[in-house]
């Protein structure tokens, strides 16, 4: 069965995110100075063929740990659903 995963990868909270900081400061220029603490991460979607949702979850977990996120600097979360 085919499943679809929606994955979010974010810079760790304790790390300075220069990209997010740049976007935050441009919020003031935009006239929205009360928007604060912008952090920029990645959204990754993928399809996976698996026998069960559990198997699909396992494979996505492995993909996140080994490649999609670098756990020294990023965290991830995902949701798997039949596609």
């Amino acid at each position: 069965m085919k499943y679809k995963a929606e994955i979010n990868v974010m810079p760790l909270k304790e790390l300075l995110d220069p990209q997010g900081k740049a976007v935050t400061s441009s919020m003031t220029n935009l006239g929205l100075p009360t928007i604060q603490n912008v952090r920029v991460g990645k959204h990754i979607s993928l399809e996976v063929e698996a026998d069960s949702k559990e198997k699909a979850n396992e494979m996505v977990e492995q993909a996140c740990k080994k490649l999609l996120a670098n756990l020294i600097m990023e965290s991830y979360e995902f949701e798997v659903n039949p596609s």
Partner: protein, 230 residues
């Protein structure tokens, strides 16, 4: 000594590295393609700078899974020497061959300029024969070079003498003002615990030819060659 310089799609400092090793340092060089697995009996594998695989996902993340890297990881595990510069250092971090990660520079730009570094480790062959008080002028060229690791790992880097180089100013002061990218403790390069895998952000191969009026980088290659018995 025989060096193997790996070329990934997007490497762009490979020819400079080959030129310096071959022509300036008078060493044998094998060119290794990322799709190959044979390290051709090289004594040291060099991962050059550039933008391997377009820096997609994260710098070095895709290169880490290329066929040649499986051989490089196995070679390093057996004690083989591996040296990564800039993108090569990023690949070594992604492959967990050296501790830490390289984050986006705090000044949100790509920085390409000469910086100053001082040798730190007395036990790693890449820095051990360089005088600790000597200030080396070596260029950097990166957007993601801010060395980072958690505090436990940082402590172990100090405890095991794994810090190779630190950014300093022209006079040798190591402080926030002489830190170009926001790297933790001004760290410009580290090695693994076994001290056979070395990674650094500055480019010694760009400061080794007297025609460029700066040969400080050559000291790093000399330090390597002085200490290795092949």
């Amino acid at each position: 000594m025989k060096f193997g310089v790996v070329i990934f799609p997007g490497s762009n400092c490979d020819q400079d590295m080959i030129y310096v090793l071959q022509t300036i340092m008078k060493q044998k060089v094998e060119v290794l393609w990322h799709k190959d697995r044979d390290l051709k009996n090289c004594d040291m594998i060099v991962l050059p700078g550039g933008f391997s695989y377009g820096d997609y996902l994260r710098s070095g993340a895709i290169a880490r899974f290329s066929p040649i890297m499986e051989s490089v990881i196995a070679f390093a595990a057996k004690g083989g020497y591996v040296f990564g510069v800039c993108n090569g250092f990023q690949i070594l971090c992604e492959a967990n061959l050296v501790p830490g990660a390289l984050l986006a520079n705090i000044p949100k730009k790509f920085i390409g300029k000469n910086v100053y570094v001082k040798s730190q480790s007395s036990s790693a062959i890449i820095s051990s024969s360089i005088n600790k008080t000597q200030v080396l002028k070596i260029p950097i060229a990166h957007g993601e070079g801010r060395f980072y690791t958690d505090s436990d790992t940082l402590k172990s880097l100090y405890d095991n003498d794994q810090i190779l180089f630190k950014y300093c100013d022209e006079k040798g002061n190591i402080n926030a003002a002489s830190n170009p990218n926001g790297a933790l403790d001004n760290i410009a390069g580290v090695c693994n615990k076994q001290k056979n895998v070395f990674g650094m952000m500055p480019h010694p191969e760009r400061a080794s030819d007297s025609e460029l009026f700066n040969t400080d980088g050559k000291l790093i290659f000399e330090s390597l060659l002085n200490s290795v018995v092949v």
